[in-house]
């Protein structure tokens, strides 16, 4: 910058030989100078950070990769300095599938692959057709059949034996798909002109948002059975699922309300002047715009709902976190929590990161604002 100004307005006394060459901003050296050492303070900070990274990342790398034990029994791990990844590799089937019968575990694998396939195809908006919706319905049915059995010669498996990753995914996927429409309904109720409906929705949303999820899970596991007539019991997974749905819906409702408030009044009036009734106004004019506005906050609600499924540990459901803890409580594998929890962290990170990535993509694709670059 300064070099540029000097060449533009050379003072008469200066010959071009006196000028210093401009500071380079191209090439690796220029990039370093521009991004890491542009001021003395930044140079010091860079130095400190590099030192900190060298002190932490290098030992971590040695621990996690160089000295690590990847497969093999636990006594091999106890002799080694590094990470014991064999706590994962030796117990992977229990961590992933819990108490699901050992010889039937191909069924949850197939169900999960089916789910992953559906999610993969749903990423691209090109495929958003009626066929995909049908595929989802058929797919979810097939997954349920695979897990529960009892049809087509598959031996039935009680839901008390379901566990691990399929349970986590089940709670997340069904929770999100059921909570979303419920949340939209609640948001519409809160914005409604009918005072009684509005009051009900406000009370529901504020009550649920004011309490922690685990109090709802306690309620699901302790009090729901009291609500039902004698002799009727609902299984534990379903009760937890209901609690997750009720909880997530309240949060989605608040996000959607934000979107509804952002729609200018003129849109409602225009729809009314066309003679559209309430249902058509909402479906054709208001909701498509409102839901598009709130994609970023919705995605973060969905991500936190996915993370929150891990809380079912507290009411002793064997989701993937609980199966891992069960492995760790085995004396043979005691003391390798770091490795096991890191593995789980990577698993959850992969899920959440891909969700937020997909959310950003969707936002870009649906953007009608040409100025921000489509």
């Amino acid at each position: 910058m300064s070099g540029f100004e000097r060449t533009m307005s050379p003072r008469p006394s200066q010959t071009p030989d006196d000028l210093k060459p401009p500071v380079t901003t191209v090439g690796p050296l220029g990039w370093l100078r521009k991004n890491l050492f542009n001021t003395p303070l930044n140079a010091v900070l860079t130095g400190l950070t590099l030192f900190f990274l060298w002190k932490t990342v290098l030992p971590f790398f040695r621990w996690a990769f160089v000295d690590a034990v990847w497969v093999g029994p636990s006594n091999l791990c106890r002799q080694s300095e590094g990470a014991c990844w064999s706590v994962i590799s030796q117990n992977i089937r229990f961590i992933l599938f819990g108490f699901y019968p050992y010889d039937q575990q191909w069924r949850p694998i197939t169900a999960m692959l089916l789910l992953l396939g559906l999610v993969f195809f749903s990423r691209d908006r090109k495929f958003w057709t009626k066929t995909l919706a049908c595929a989802w319905i058929v797919g979810l049915g097939a997954m349920g059949t695979l897990m529960a059995g009892g049809l087509f010669g598959l031996p039935p498996v009680e839901s008390t034996q379901w566990g691990g990753l399929p349970l986590t995914l089940l709670l997340a996927v069904f929770g999100l798909t059921a909570a979303y429409p419920l949340g939209v309904l609640l948001a519409l109720g809160r914005q409604s002109r009918l005072p009684a409906v509005k009051l009900l929705c406000v009370v529901y949303i504020e009550l649920i948002r004011g309490v922690p999820l685990i109090s709802l899970l306690f309620m699901a596991s302790i009090i729901f059975p009291l609500f039902l007539p004698a002799g009727i019991t609902i299984n534990k997974i379903l009760r937890a699922q209901v609690a997750i749905i009720l909880f997530t819906a309240a949060y989605i409702a608040e996000v959607v309300r934000g979107g509804l408030q952002a729609i200018p009044k003129g849109q409602y009036e225009a729809a009314e002047s066309l003679g559209l009734n309430y249902y058509l106004t909402m479906r054709l004019v208001v909701l498509p715009q409102a839901l598009k506005i709130v994609i970023p906050p919705t995605v973060s609600i969905l991500i936190s709902a996915f993370k929150d499924t891990s809380l079912v540990v507290i009411i002793a459901l064997y989701d993937v976190l609980k199966t891992t803890q069960t492995v760790l409580s085995n004396p043979e594998w005691m003391g390798f929590s770091r490795e096991a929890y890191l593995f789980l962290a990577i698993l959850y990170f992969a899920g959440c990161f891909s969700m937020s990535h997909a959310g950003r993509r969707l936002e870009r694709q649906l953007s009608t604002n040409r100025q921000e670059g489509g």
């Binding site: 009918l194 109090s215 306690f218 004698a230 770091r338 789980l344």
Partner: protein, 397 residues
């Protein structure tokens, strides 16, 4: 407002059948919804009462007066197993308040720091902050709590080999042990002096503002207040002859004597909650700073304001307006997430209530108490923050 207009603009036509009248339809629909909800509530209540009678569970809060007969690991006030359930629950509530208050303070500081680091012109620091935020946001907080808790028990040595990073500070699997101040009357007087100085500087600010409105002459409020708030306790300290006796923790046998011990449960809970929530706060702070246009700073500087004044009078008020509402919900999230303490054995309110439910079988009352306490926390925090938010709001004409 809008609805009354619409309804009024369509007067009831006598030939129109009454079921096409929008007013009648609105009433009918609401009656139907209310009826359905009431029916559902009645059905659930009837079932519950029948079930409770069948299982012979007493209802009501009479159990609160009974002896709790369980120990609580740590408490702010004195507590023993002979105390009542009511006192046990109160101890739990205080423990929740303790971890939430300390956690919120640390989170705001750390989150602001990381949020600013995220905007640093230093590529390395900005990247590191971004990676921190992404990783922390994408891993469940319960998993993080388990991780830190396991780290305390698996990584740290026993009291005999306790790490000693500073004189008087020990870290081991019994927790974090720090020196404690010896009791002295000076401490209470210093707190009093501090409070008095705070009140004085608040009055001073009001006076200075009135004077500036009247005469236009500014008064260096900030510097005077700083001197007052720091000086008054120091002077009090000096008046008592600088009491600075502390008890250093010492290893005796298998445990430490003296000093203050932060239990591994408390430390793990605090660490997990702060590191997790700080990532969200950092994003909020970044968004708030970015929301203030560059022109605002330039305009303020062109008016001749000093950099500190630009920050205090122009940038911060606008950034805070964007930051406060989401920051409030993060504070509430931290408070609600502290209920996960039940998973790692810190005796917070949920944990104590859960033990109470297991011992008395009074599940409905127990869960109702949990919900009531958290609703109280949530509503009072948001009431306070709404009041503050209203003060900081943009006044539009």
């Amino acid at each position: 407002m809008d609805s009354s207009q619409t309804v009024a603009s369509r007067p009831f036509h006598p030939k129109e059948p009454f079921w096409l009248d929008p007013r009648f339809r609105a009433l009918l629909f609401q009656a139907l919804v209310l009826g359905a909800v009431a029916l559902l509530a009645w059905y659930l209540m009837a079932n519950t009462i029948a079930n409770l009678q069948r299982q012979k569970i007493a209802t009501g809060f009479a159990f609160l007066e009974k002896e709790a007969a369980f120990e609580i690991g740590e408490s702010v006030i004195s507590y023993s197993a002979a105390d009542t359930y009511a006192r046990a629950l109160f101890v739990g509530a205080l423990n929740t308040v303790k971890v939430a208050a300390i956690g919120i303070g640390l989170t705001v500081v750390l989150g602001t720091f990381i949020g600013i680091a995220r905007l640093s012109s230093n590529w390395l620091i900005a990247r590191l902050a971004a990676v921190y935020i992404e990783v922390m946001q994408d891993v469940p907080v319960l998993l993080q709590l388990f991780f830190w808790y396991a780290l305390f028990y698996e990584m740290l040595p026993g009291p005999r080999q306790a790490l000693n990073p500073m004189i008087g500070v020990y870290v081991c699997n019994r927790g974090l042990i720090v020196p404690s101040l010896n009791p002295h009357p000076a401490w209470r007087w210093m707190i009093l002096a501090f409070t008095a100085a705070m009140v004085a500087s608040w009055l001073l600010r009001a006076w200075a503002r009135r004077r500036q409105d009247r005469t236009g002459r500014p008064f260096p409020v900030f510097r005077t207040s700083l001197v007052l708030v720091l000086g008054a306790p120091l002077v009090t300290w000096w008046a008592f002859g600088f009491p600075r006796a502390v008890t250093l923790p010492e290893l005796q046998g298998f445990n430490f004597v003296g000093g203050k011990t932060l239990s591994p449960e408390f430390s793990a809970l605090l660490l997990g909650l702060v590191l997790y929530t700080a990532a969200f706060v950092a994003e909020i702070v970044r968004a708030g700073i970015q929301a203030v246009g560059k022109g605002q700073r330039e305009a303020a500087m062109s008016l001749g304001l000093r950099p500190a004044q630009v920050l205090r009078l122009v940038i911060l008020p606008q950034a805070l307006r964007v930051i406060i509402p989401p920051l409030t919900s993060q504070m509430l999230n931290l408070t609600k997430n502290s209920s996960l303490a039940v998973a790692i054995g810190y005796p917070d309110f949920v944990s104590v209530a859960n033990t109470t439910i297991n011992q008395t079988g009074q599940s409905i009352e127990g869960v109702a108490l949990i919900m009531a306490v958290y609703l109280f926390f949530s509503l009072s925090t948001s009431a306070f923050m709404n009041w503050y938010n209203k003060k900081a709001r943009l006044v539009e004409r």
